[in-house]
């Protein structure tokens, strides 16, 4: 029985069953005498249990046929560069923020596929890069909107307005230029009183008419996007879906109206 003093490191050892048997009683006494440490230990224990529960179901899932086939030597061999890794690489390039980005898959939608998916991915990447930047999210702030939109319009080749989203609680922080596929896109950033940020990404884009929502399979912000009459636009943020929808519709109307292309 040692009279050694314990530290928060021992919490991990105890939790993982690595504390020697003969130290456990003393450790328990130490915990009782240190409410902070006890609380910490309980939180970690709860997290551990949550993690285990969360993934326990995977063991019950039927094993995909392709995995058994590999072992039985029946499966068709896959291409050298495996999809998961290419997707993860592409996603990391796009996301450029957050270690979580390492791991992204792409929602089952092929990389570099349809132009609207691609646009949504770029918009999310831009949002994740710049909206997360506390101090310098924009190049030109929103105080002089005429200057901001003039500059962005000129560089993107679009007639742009900065939508007024104050009804949704968002004020314009400003904007910046971001690279798009072979062109230049405008990114306008907004923040609400809670510090939530959303971005409006606009780029001159194709002639298809599409709309939809897009989220990387790894999670992260959602893009509500559309393409119409040479405009591609995505509203990106992490708001609840209904709020995202409201904000996006609001922004859409104003952008289209501003472009002199009001249509329903």
């Amino acid at each position: 029985m040692s009279a050694r003093s314990f530290t928060d490191r021992d919490i991990h050892l105890a939790l993982d069953g690595e504390l020697p048997e003969d130290e456990r009683a003393a450790y328990q006494m130490w915990l009782e005498a240190n409410p902070d440490m006890k609380a910490r230990s309980l939180r970690f224990a709860a997290d551990n249990a949550a993690l285990r529960n969360l993934f326990a179901g995977v063991l019950e899932e039927p094993v995909p046929v392709r995995l058994e086939a590999v072992v039985n030597g029946e499966g068709p061999r896959r291409k050298q560069a495996t999809p998961w890794w290419r997707m993860a690489a592409a996603a990391a390039l796009l996301i450029a923020g957050g270690l979580g980005g390492y791991l992204a898959g792409m929602n089952g939608i092929g990389m570099g596929g349809d132009s609207d998916d691609r646009m949504a991915q770029l918009a999310i990447a831009a949002h994740q890069t710049f909206a997360a930047d506390k101090n310098r999210p924009v190049e030109v702030d929103g105080s002089d909107q005429a200057y901001l939109t003039g500059w962005l319009s000129k560089r993107t080749g679009l007639r742009l307005v900065a939508p007024d989203l104050s009804n949704d609680g968002f004020t314009l922080l400003g904007g910046r230029l971001v690279p798009a596929d072979g062109s230049t896109a405008a990114l306008m950033l907004y923040a609400d009183a809670d510090g939530n940020r959303i971005s409006v990404y606009v780029v001159a884009e194709g002639s298809e008419r599409t709309k939809g929502t897009f989220t990387l399979a790894s999670g992260g912000p959602e893009a509500v996007y559309w393409q119409d009459e040479g405009y591609g636009c995505a509203i990106v943020g992490t708001l609840p879906p209904e709020q995202m929808g409201t904000v996006a519709r609001n922004a859409y109307k104003q952008l289209i109206a501003g472009a002199g292309q009001a249509r329903t």
Partner: protein, 197 residues
Amino acid sequence: MARRLRGAGKARSIGVEEDGLRSAVMDEKKAAILQEIPRLRRYARALLRDRDSADDLVQDSLERALLRMDNWRTGESPRRWLFTIMHHLFIDQMRKVSRRGEAAILPLEASEALATPAIQAESVASREIVDALQQISPDRRAALVMVAIEGFSYAEAATMLGVPAGTLMSRIARGREELRGLLDDQARRRAIRIVEK
């Protein structure tokens, strides 16, 4: 070796060259590997979150394992052998991803980590944990998952991850603390929103 590689997709091409005894051992080994697939899938899912990506990692690991059956000594736990293979593949790929120019990745705000379901019927709380887990570094995540979810001992995990015990311990401690910090941040943000509503 090149010949083995080409033929590796078919068990029969090996079987033809081996005598009956070896092929029986082979079958036994394959059966043992098959049994480990659920565990491998769980580990991969915790590492990668996305279901298809995780299964791709498992498939890569199984393919590599079958090419290297000789490295697995009879009597040795197939589990540790397979986990080791999978971990190396995981870390290799993570490094390749980061070499592609994204080494200077900034930590995401916890608020950025809304999610698409990786696990069916995810609650907000479980989604937050999955998100937070994905935000900690691959090394720490692997260590934490091996011990906390897969239930390996520190000694086993250290061997499989190929790091000294001290390194493993600090990865687990930091990983767990980081995870809790991320969850606390999310809880705080939620509380602020509720208060302001």
